[in-house]
Amino acid sequence: MYAKIALGNVRKSFRDFSIFFLTLAFGVCVFYAFGSITDQAAVIQMAEDERRMVEALSDILGGVSVFIVVILGFLVVYANRFLIRRRKREFGIYLTLGMDVRHVSTIVVVETLAVGVVALAVGLVLGIALSQVMMYVTARLFEATIKGFVFAFSLTACANTVACFAGIFLVTLVFNVTTVSRYKLIDLINADRVSEKVKLRSLPLSVVLFVVSVALIGVAYKTLIEHGMVEEGPYFALATGLVTVGTLLFFFSISGFLLRLVQTSPRLYLSGLNMFVMRQLNSRINTAWLSISLVCAMLFVAICGVCTGFSVATGMNESLAAGTRYDMSLVSYPMGLASQHEEGPAAADGYDAIARLRADVPGYDEIFRDAVQVNQYAYDADGSPLVDTTVEELFANTDFSGNATMQTLIQGNTTQTLTLVPVSEYNALCEMAGEPGVELADGECLLWNDLSSLDELWEAVAEQNPEIEACGRTLRFAEDPIVSMLFSDMPAGGSVSGALVVADDVLPAGASPTCTVVNLMYNGDRAEVEPRAVAAVEDAYDDVMGGGSTLDAWPVWNLTTAQGLLEQSSGTTVAVTYLAIYIGFMLLVSCAMVLALQQLSEAADNVSRYRVLAELGAERRLISRALLAQVGVYFLFPLVVAVAHAAVALSVINDIVALLTGFQIGTALVGTVCFVVVLYGGYFLVTYLTSRSMVVRSESRAAGL
């Protein structure tokens, strides 16, 4: 019998249940679709290393999914809570009719179960459809092809989804049963009459809390901007903590604060429907501040995620173009690592790496058309440093107001002394790359830095330390002190930062290079020659490359090819973009969903209120505006705060991204803004229009039209 009542209830209050149902189905759908990415990859024909990429990606997604499940869980419980609260009176009637609390619980359980199972089934079907679409999107991203129509079903994803939602569901069930059994009959019966208790906090307290919250957020911003994210110490954690508490407090206090503030101005408060709108907001925000804070946090992560993801992906592509000027770069350390400076096999060759390569690599002249060797010198024949100044000392003597992140990152390896590069070698490199060379006047030197984001720093160094002692001579920086030719192929540039380019005769006889790079150009098409070239070099040096002692790894310690870098990063780009979109999309939709649910489930209550307004003769325009303000505030408030937080966080993230890839986040901002506006704005619009049509319908009834 209870089952019959329960199912009847679901049928009767379909609209109320539909919100719960939609949330659940939506969650299941998205969760399944992203969970099935690995299995989709099996269907798509893609290269082996791309496949590994996808597997790594789905591992990360797995971690992120835990986070998503928590949010979805919250969503479901939240939607459910509304449902239960709306029906208090109904439960009250059951109890007065003599039903036991246990029986009412049974009804609730059956109801939730029925809706849940159907939602799970519908969600899975939709999820399979969505994953089918996503499979083609993934294929496009990886530039792979799918032959014909393939139906992909992932059993693991399905099982995971069912397990996760069974868990969420259990929580909901326990929540419902405890809520129902805790209600007192008197509250249930009066549920319709007593609206949510409107607590009014005292104005001074609200103002104080508001000021405190703004101060906390301000301090957090300042800490973050000053210390960045990577500096050691408690700064980042501190900033995060402060901003969290500050935001919570902000939304908590603003509910009491804003109403009182507007009330102090009768002009504003006693005009049109302002009073009504303010009260309307206040009646809910007392309980809604927590969910608004949560929405704000999710929006923040979404904006940061999407923006960082886009910019890292774009930045990688751009810096990659700059970091792959040579077809192949071979780096070695002829004297071992900096601290060793011993003589090894390189000394026997007179440090001529190209001659060694020509002798060792089979078919060298056929494979390579051009090669330039560039050496960095740090010690003279006796092993004493050529330049006494260390990078650290230079920085210490430089007043640079750059960002915290950059300085922190640089501080890591600044104890070494500056190295010297003969200008002839630098010019040879320029010539090979087809760039104009440099000329040095007597006693001049240049600073070599191929990481563009550090240019400003080095310019400041050269400007404030115009002279430098090297090999017993005083050198001054040329008028344009920075040169930026790529030292060796690197995914993001940055293979040399702070070497001095000096006239060849500055270097004393007998000095031997600590670091050598040979940049080579292929004889023919890059992609075509690549396999042969790599095979030949590996064939010759497989035993010394990359392992054992750096001293013995002459002339190849490390092999980098432009083609290799490009292939490697296309996978990374896709992975990062995918991740960013996944997180961003999920979070944004969840936020919008929470807000839309909140507003729509309130709409029923609001309808009667707006009808009273219509009966009092408020114009439709006025009513629409009031509704827009009410819905708008809920959507806009968390967005504004989240955008403020994100702006600060992104300015710091920007430092890191710029340092790693030379890419400025600003460019990705346009894309992110479009993304947010379309998705979030769409939800806002739909919510507003839906509520308005509900209100207008009832208003028309009131007007007899």
């Binding site: 006693l270 009504f276 408020a618």
Partner: protein, 268 residues
């Protein structure tokens, strides 16, 4: 609102009526099965009058009130308020008409639960674009007249039913409407609170407000100056209180009611 010293029934003939219903018909249902809720109803209400519309359930009294209040439209006939035919107003004009000319008191006070009493009353003014600086004083004044000055800062759920109805009455008259429409205002009140509300309405009428009250309660009707009786959508009878005491008027009303066979027929 200056008190009117003209007795309504004396002035009724001379002044232009506030409300004039002319041959109002209201039909419901399909072509084959027509229900005639209002059948050629015609009457005038003079400024400052206090009219009770009585009748048993289904007699059409709520339909009539809905037509007057522009919540519903008559099928044929005309309703003139201050000489303006409201049956031909479009929806934009309707809301303007409602907020400028009418004041409502409903059976369930219909106050907004999120607003305090003060704000509920003020809302009627702000919707009417009253200047903000006038609002507080006018709210205080009308609240004092209806005896709700001490509950102004309470929310509806903190007030008794009677207080809520009096706040609703205050909201209805604060805009100085041409016509106050009350639909079973005492329906949900106990006798003490009923009397209190009716006395308030009587006082408002004495100050010049024109009131039309729909009720099936003879006691409530006895506070009016004139009672119209509806039966099956037609005006069945009309009695004027004139100089009679309220008790005498009540007895007269009861006679008609028992003749009609409505409620209270066996109270006598």
């Amino acid at each position: 609102m200056a008190p009117s010293h003209v007795r309504p029934d004396a002035a009724a003939a001379s002044a232009r009526p506030v409300l004039s219903c002319q041959g109002v018909d209201k039909l419901y249902g399909s072509r084959t099965n027509v229900t005639r809720a209002l059948d050629d109803v015609s009457f005038d209400v003079a400024p400052g009058e206090y009219i009770a519309i009585m009748g048993p359930s289904g007699s059409g009294k709520t339909t009539l009130l809905n037509c007057i209040s522009t919540i519903d439209r008559p099928t044929s006939g005309h309703i003139l308020v201050d000489g303006q035919d409201i049956t031909s107003l479009r929806s934009g004009q309707l809301s303007r008409f409602r907020r400028e000319r009418l004041g409502f008191v409903f059976q369930d006070s219909n106050l907004l639960d999120t607003l305090t009493a003060r704000e509920n009353i003020a809302l009627a003014l702000t919707i009417n674009h009253a200047p903000a600086r006038e609002v507080p004083a006018r709210v205080e004044q009308v609240a004092a007249r209806l005896g709700v000055a001490d509950v102004l800062d309470k929310f509806p759920h903190q007030m008794s039913g009677g207080q809520k109805q009096r706040v609703a009455a205050a909201r209805a008259i604060v805009t100085n409407p041409s016509l106050v429409l009350a639909d079973e205002p005492t329906g949900a009140l106990d006798s003490k609170n009923s009397r209190r509300l009716l006395e308030s309405l009587e006082a408002l009428n004495a100050d010049g407000a024109t009131i039309i009250m729909v009720t099936h309660d003879s006691f409530a009707a006895s506070y009016s100056r004139r009672a119209l009786f509806l039966k099956d959508g037609r005006i069945f009878n009309e009695i004027v209180r004139g100089s009679k005491t309220r008790k005498a008027f009540f007895d007269e009303i009861m006679d008609v009611v028992s003749f009609l066979g409505g409620e209270g027929a066996d109270v006598r």
